[in-house]
Each structure stands twice: as C-alpha cells, then as structure tokens.
C-alpha cells in the first residue's frame, strides 16, 4: 500500500465495513450530510454484493476541501462493524490510520506500524438497548471526536435524519453518540488536523439522482423502467418526485415494454426517458432502431455493470460500449454519450434531449455503476435547473395543410414534426421503410430511389445536428511523456493520477472522450498526433474503447491499462501502470485490486 504525501489540505478517507443489514448506509449518509453542510467535498463508493442480508460491504467516503475526483486508494479511518471487516481491511491502513471496532465482539488483528487501534466498549457505553444498530451511532460520535469536529454537527444531523421517528429515538441516538464522543475524547488521539470548513454548503448526489434530476430539468414528462441494478436509483427518484413534478412514472413488465412505451409517449410529444443496465438494454435494443426508423426522439440510459449476462450485478465495468454501438439491427443514427461524473451526467441529459429532438433520433447515455451509485458533492452554484430546451423543428402552423409529409426530404434532412392530435396533419409513422409521406415502401417490389433518399435524409439530419457537439480537448501539459485516454467515468481518476505522476516527475495529460457518437475523429487524431506515448485506460478486458478508437482514427495506442475485476480504478492503479509501461514497456497493464477482497 502506497502512502500519499502529507496533504496540505484535508484529504481523508473513511471506510465503514460490515455485512448487509448492519446499517452501513445510514452512518455513511449522516457523515456525507455533515461534510456537505460544512462545505467539504466528497465522493463515496460502496463496494457491495448482490445480497440483502449478510455478505460484506465496504463503504468508502473520501472527504476533501476541493473537488474529490475518486474514492482514492488509502484508508485513514476504518470502522469495523464485524470481525470480517477487521480481518480483510486492517492491513490497508498505514501510519496515522485509525481503526474503530466493537471490542465486545471484534478481535483486533496485527496493525501496521503507526496505526491507532480504537476499541469501543459498546455494551458499556450504550447500556441496555434493543437497538441493534446502536454501535453505528456510537461510532459516529467517536468519529466526530477523532475528526476534531464539534459534537453539535452530529447532534443536528441525527435530529434531522431521525426526526421522523420521534423525540425518543432522537434522544437515544444523540445520547449514545455523545457517550461515544466523550469516550473518544478521553481515550483516543484525534487526527492532527481538525475538520476544516468550506465556503458554503454543497449538495450530495448519487449519480442516478443526477440523471433523474437532469431528466426533470430537461422536461421529461414520461419515465418508464423495469427495476435493474445499478439503474434502479433513477426509477426511485422519479417515483419519489414524479407526481409533484407532473412526470408520469411507470414500472413496466419488461424492458421491451419499457422502451416501446417510452417511444409511444415520446411520439405524442412528451420528452420521454428510460434507464436500465446492460441486460435490460439488450431487451430494449430492437426499440432503439424503431425510434430511429420512425424518427422519434427518445433517451435511453444504460448504467453499465460487470457482464456478460447477469454478470456481477453490484460491480462496475465499462463493458457495454460495443453493445450500445451495435444496439439494433441496420444502419442508423443515434447519439451515444458517456458523462464523467454526477454533475456532468446531470448536465448531459438536457443536452442529449436537445440533440435527440433536433435530430429526431434516439440518444443513449452510457453511465456505469461507479457514477450511478457513487455519491458526489456538487456545488449548487454549478447546477442549472432551467437549462435551455430546444425541441427542434415542430410544425407550429395551426392551419391544416392536408398534404403534410412527415418525412419531407429537406435540405438539412430534418422533417418538421407534428404532435399527433393536431388537426389537419394526420400521418402514419412506420418501422418499415417508408416514403416522405410515411407510406410503406417495403412491400413494393423494389424502390431503390425512395430507399436511398430516406437513408440519406436520416443520415443528413444527424450530421446537421451532430456538428454542434463539442469535440474533446487535451487536458494538462501540451507536451507530455504520456497521454492517457479514457471515456466516461475514468475522467476523475485519470486526472488525479496525472497530478500524482507530476509529483514523480512524469508529465502526463489526458484526452477524455465523452461523446462516443458523434466521435470527433479529426479532433482526436489531431490531439493525439504528437503524443509520445498513448495509454488507453478502460474498465474492461478486451479494450473495447481502444478498438473503437482505432476503428475511428486508425490510431493504435502504445499501451493499455485495463481493469475487469468488478472494482473501479484508483489513482494508484494508473500511476503504477504508467510507471510500469514507461519502464518495462508493458503492453497491457492490469492492476491488482487490493482493497476489497
């Protein structure tokens, strides 16, 4: 385990480990709220299993004074809710780390030098209570003391979080927390740096919340889903907020139904969206092409998890790139975008809707478990809940013309839409090939002229709109020893790795790809033209992105960093990979996951 140089500003990672059902989420959420209200930034990642009770969970919450780019790769404070956590993770703490555990049930292991063991006599401190998760509250009190924070921060957070359960529950928890706080103050040495305070409170969003909120801001009025990890958070947010916002939310019998229902709604003129993971997206696949053929704008969200098939439902991967690129038979246009983090996902949803509506085609947003189930701090000043809405060409003329051609072959390729129900513009849309009026041509023996006309019209409208999508730019020094290329969620961890590489006198820069389609081949080629060593970083085995990049640009990367064990990349993985590539000329570096075993 490498150690970070002593940070000038706060950079601390707290981990809570235990079995599912031990109530890990609640203390994690309370800590996140405390930090966010104090204006501190954070990112949390929950390594868990597809299990409701039992198993092993490790929630990592990294807090800092500036934007936290990843969950990092060092633990400073570990709360062991069970023996398993102690046995698995104690060895990961280095000098200055603190390990909290219930000394009634958990035997401490042999810590690394300089690690502070902090045993909590839970029974003695909590007295005679039937509350099975009381040690979590006690631990929060202890943590506040170790963090050098004022107890009132925790008391306020507990009152707010447990207020609904009544004053007796609040009093019991605050009392127990206070006991933990006082016990720690007299028994354990706090971290040297007391908890700082940021300028202003920040918001705390899970990526799925951000996607859902982005949909609401974009004007989504119809959301359908079939529950599937790690996309269900979008459904839950929508179900929670939909009725008050005037958003129709439906849980449908399967993802085939989801996608087709969404398309039916979108054709009527609402902005409609659905989210799933790869397996569900596989079922939606045929509908993606039908939206393209009928020219109905609709947004699909695919939150990637480790596959293939049912795969590893609670683990992350960037393994569906090829799937979304190949989703649906035939040759057709659609946008595919992979945002970097929660805030980016929030901003991307309205942008994708604008593009999809202008080009009257499907848009696919590619998230992953890391983004969707990760928790991010977001500066509320960066959040625009009333983004620009561009619905594209809609027939506004209320006077009927009687000769409306839904698929009129215009110069831009864009045929103005009419929302069904409008008088005088009756037309039929079809998944069969059709002519400008929407009349099927598939049953004609052959009509190569009309077929070619329609294929080119659809391609042209996409090109018209896709021109407005911003190309990627190189971040970091222009001249660098290494250029790291990734897509989607690897942005933050690569950025952090670059800062660390600089400390080791390795100059690196990053080309982060967000738009998969349209892919800016010319801009990418130019950005990589002078790169001394191109390293592609991706969270899959076969290098799906590397293959795509090569296909689009002809560029073959010098080396690769790939991870496919279900856990996300950490900065150290990339730093070690780059050093290994530079010194050993490794072609494909596969980091070893050490934290969650």
């Amino acid at each position: 385990m490498s150690t970070r140089p002593l940070a000038k500003t706060l950079d601390l990672t707290i981990a809570i480990g235990g079995a599912a059902g031990q109530g890990i989420a609640t203390p994690g959420n309370i800590l996140a709220k405390i930090f966010a209200r104090r204006g501190l930034h954070l990112y949390s990642y929950n390594a868990h299993q597809s299990i409701i009770r039992g198993g092993h969970i490790l929630l990592m919450l990294r807090v800092g004074e500036t934007e936290v780019l990843s969950h990092g790769d060092r633990l400073d404070l570990l709360l062991c809710l069970n023996q398993d956590t102690m046995d698995r993770h104690l060895g990961l703490l280095g000098e200055g780390g603190r390990v909290l555990f219930n000394s009634d049930d958990v035997e401490p292991g042999e810590p690394n030098p300089g690690v502070h063991l902090c045993p909590m006599p839970v029974k003695q401190l909590t007295g005679d209570t039937k509350n099975k998760v009381i040690q979590n509250t006690l631990s929060l009190g202890v943590m506040m003391s170790l963090l050098g924070a004022d107890f009132s921060l925790l008391a306020d957070a507990l009152s707010q979080s447990l207020g609904k359960k009544g004053p007796a529950v609040v009093d019991e928890n605050v009392g127990v927390a206070r006991a933990g706080f006082d016990y720690a103050a007299s028994s354990f040495e706090p971290f040297p740096q007391p908890l700082p305070k940021g300028d202003r409170p920040v918001a705390v969003w899970a990526g799925n919340d951000a996607i859902a909120l982005g949909g609401a801001a974009a004007g989504v009025r119809f959301y359908a889903a079939y529950p599937m990890s790690p996309a269900s958070g979008v459904l839950h947010w929508m179900a929670q907020n939909g009725r008050s916002l005037g958003i129709m939310v439906r849980q449908v019998e399967d993802e085939i139904g989801v996608a087709n229902m969404t398309i039916g709604a979108a054709h009527m003129g609402v902005r409609a969206m659905c989210a799933t993971s790869g397996g569900g997206f596989a079922l939606m696949t045929e509908a993606v092409g039908s939206a393209a053929m009928m020219e109905i704008p609709v947004v699909f969200i695919n939150v990637m998890r480790a596959g293939p098939s049912t795969g590893v439902p609670t683990k992350t991967e960037q393994g569906d790139l090829r799937q979304v690129l190949g989703a649906s038979q035939g040759d057709f246009e659609r946008f595919i975008v992979a945002p970097r983090n929660a805030l980016d996902a929030f901003n991307t949803v309205p942008e994708l809707f604008n593009l999809a509506e202008r080009a009257q085609c499907p848009g696919i947003l590619l998230s992953d478990l890391l983004i969707s189930e990760g928790t991010f701090s977001v500066d509320p000043r960066a959040v625009n809940l009333q983004p620009a809405i561009d619905r594209g060409a809609l027939v506004q003329d209320p006077s009927p013309n009687g000769d409306y051609h839904r698929y009129a072959d215009t110069k831009t390729g864009i045929s103005p839409r009419v929302l069904p129900g409008t008088e005088g513009y009756v037309h039929v849309v079809a998944t069969d090939e059709h002519d400008e009026a929407g009349v099927l041509i598939s049953d004609e023996f052959t009509n190569p002229f009309k077929r070619r006309q329609m294929v080119e019209k659809r391609a042209r409208k996409f090109e018209t709109v896709a021109r407005d999508v911003a190309p990627p730019t190189l971040e970091g020094p222009l001249k660098a020893d290494v250029t790291l290329v990734g897509f989607g969620s690897t942005y933050g961890v690569i950025k952090e790795a670059i800062a660390r590489l600089a400390e080791q006198d390795v100059d690196a820069n990053q080309l982060a790809i967000k738009w998969i389609v349209p892919f800016h081949a010319a801009a990418v080629t130019k950005a990589l033209a002078k790169a001394r060593c191109i390293v592609i970083v991706e969270n899959n085995y076969s290098g799906q992105f590397a293959q795509y990049l090569r296909g689009e640009t002809g560029i073959t990367a010098h080396a690769h960093i790939r991870k496919y064990d279900g856990e996300p990349l950490t900065p150290r993985h990339i730093v070690d990979g780059v050093l290994d590539i530079l010194h050993q000329e490794t072609a494909v570096y596969v980091p070893t996951q050490e934290i969650f075993v």
Binding site: A203, G257, N260, G402, H427, D432, L440, D443
Partner: protein
C-alpha cells in the same frame, strides 16, 4: 399477395367526416383478395364514423404482420411499430395524450405470440385502449406457419406432421388478466363487428376484440365456410356479459357452435382514469417543459 399501392391526393383535411369513407387512408390495402382483414378495416372505418370521431383525434397503433398494415389504410394518426409491441407503444401514447382515442390493431401472432406478455399486462392495467386482433390462426406474412391460436394437429410449413401445441384462448386469458371488455367478432359479419367496436371504444378501460379474420391463402382449415357454419351470436342466446363464469364457459366452446359477441364487461378504474397527474389536466404532451424556478429550488434544497 398484391403489391399495389395507390397514391391518393391530400387527405385529412379537417371537416366532420361525412361517411366512413373519410377514414380511408392514403393507400389501398395490399392484402390478398378475399382476406378477412378487409372486413375488419371496413368495420373499423364505419365504427369511427358512427362514433363521430375526427381523424386527428384518433391514433391507430399496430405491430407487424399482414393485419398490422392497417394503420396505413386509415385516415388517422398511426404508428406501425415493432412486431408484438403495439400495446406498450399504444399505452405510452395514451398516457402522454389521454385525450386521443387509441386503438391498437394486429394479428394473433403479433398479439398472442410475440406480444403475449404485453397483452396480459395491458389487460391488468385496464388502460383505455381498444385492441382489435385479426385472428386468422396462422402466420400469413411469413407464408404459413402455426400461430398461438392454430388448432391441435394443424398442418403448416412449420408443422408438416401436425401441430402438437394446444392453442391459447385469448378471451378467457384476457378475462382472467383483468380486461374489462372482452368480445369476439367475425369479419364475415361486419355489422355485428362494427357494433362490438363501437362498444369497445366507448368503454372506459381495456377492450379486447378477437376477430375471426380468415386467411384465404395459408389457412384452409379455418376459412369462411368453417366460421359461417359455426358462429352464433351471444346476443341471440341471452348471455349476460357481467357474468364472468358464463363468459368463460361460452369462450371455451369450440365445436359446432363458436360464440361471437360481447363475452364480458365490467367497470373498473382505468389506468389513465386513476393516474392522478392526468386528472382534470391537459395531456402531458401539451404541458410546458422543464421545471419552474420554485420546483428547481425546492428540489435542490432537498438534495443538499
């Protein structure tokens, strides 16, 4: 099959339809001469006229198959969707614009085979959609294979030695699944069929009309004479459509007598009628987009 498509001059000019012909679409059907689907199309156009519908207030959604070409032959908003997916598309459309009259059409393979799961759930939701299934007991557009309603032992291209699988009963299945208007018509009796369709559209809830619509090309077993000799109207035998047990018994009969008519009807809140955000409000598709400043602030405050 004929491939003739006749371009017509402009259609859909707004005026109150003067006859059923005003619901004729841009092109003439390319069904085989004698196909049962002609009778269904004619009955539907007549029902729409007699109901006083305007073409722009009507959305006809189909799947894929011979009969699913129907929306193209109607002067109405239409969606010719994927094989088996007419019902979810129609459901999304109805929820997004609940002021439209939504009719889904298709065949037995489309609705009872590949789309069977959606039929069960659409019935359960009791959304205000009329679903007309042109049931010819065979796959026609793929040139003659068994369908979910093909009889036992039927010989087709995919069952040259005879069909081993028991046919589905769409009527009893839909009654059990929660459909609130379940009927069967015969394209050889368009007058009766028109009345069933009118009743289905007027009914507030999910209505299924299974229509015997003979395939004159690929089904020699279930042709016009087969049905003409057997069909008997429930209205003529004093059936009470509120009696679901009797409805199921009548629907199970398949021999010298095969019943047509309204088997079952009940009142239950429809999905669109019970979804709070649709009540006393314009269609979702006609509402402004995006969040108000107040909604935005309150959401952001909650997500802090």
């Amino acid at each position: 099959m004929s491939h003739a498509t006749l371009e017509k001059p402009s259609v859909s000019l707004p005026h109150t339809p003067a006859s059923a012909k005003d619901f004729k679409g841009r092109v003439e059907p390319d069904w085989c001469p004698g196909c049962g689907d002609f009778g269904v199309l004619n009955a539907l156009q007549r029902a729409c006229f007699e109901l006083g519908l305007q073409p722009h207030q009507l959305l006809v959604v189909s799947g894929i198959g011979c009969s699913s070409n129907l929306p193209g032959y109607m002067n109405a908003y239409g969606m010719h969707t994927l094989h088996g997916r007419s019902l979810p598309v129609a459901t999304g459309a109805k929820l997004a614009n609940h002021q439209l009259t939504v009719i889904a059409t298709g065949g037995d393979g489309d609705g009872y085979g590949i789309g069977g799961n959606h039929l069960a759930h659409t019935a359960r939701r009791n959304i205000d959609i009329t679903y007309i299934v042109m049931d010819n007991q065979v796959y026609g557009l793929t040139t003659g294979q068994i369908s979910p309603t093909s009889r036992l032992d039927m010989k087709t291209k995919s069952t040259p030695q005879g069909n081993l699988e028991w046919p589905i009963n769409p009527l009893t299945a839909s009654i059990m699944n929660g459909a609130t208007y379940v009927a069967r018509g015969f394209s050889g009796d368009p007058k009766h069929l028109t009345e069933l369709m009118k009743g289905a559209v007027r009914h507030r809830g999910f209505a299924l009309i299974d229509v015997f619509s003979p395939c004159v090309t690929f089904n020699n077993d279930n042709d016009y004479p087969f049905f003409k000799q057997r069909v008997k109207k429930l209205e003529d035998v004093g059936h009470d459509p509120s009696d679901w047990k009797s409805a199921c018994e009548r629907a199970m009969e398949w021999g010298d007598t095969i019943y047509t008519g309204l088997f079952f009807r009940t009142e239950r809140p429809s999905l669109d009628g019970s979804e709070p955000i649709l009540q006393n409000a314009p269609p979702l598709a006609r509402r402004p987009l995006g969040l108000t400043a107040q909604q935005g602030e309150s959401l952001l405050a909650r997500m802090m």
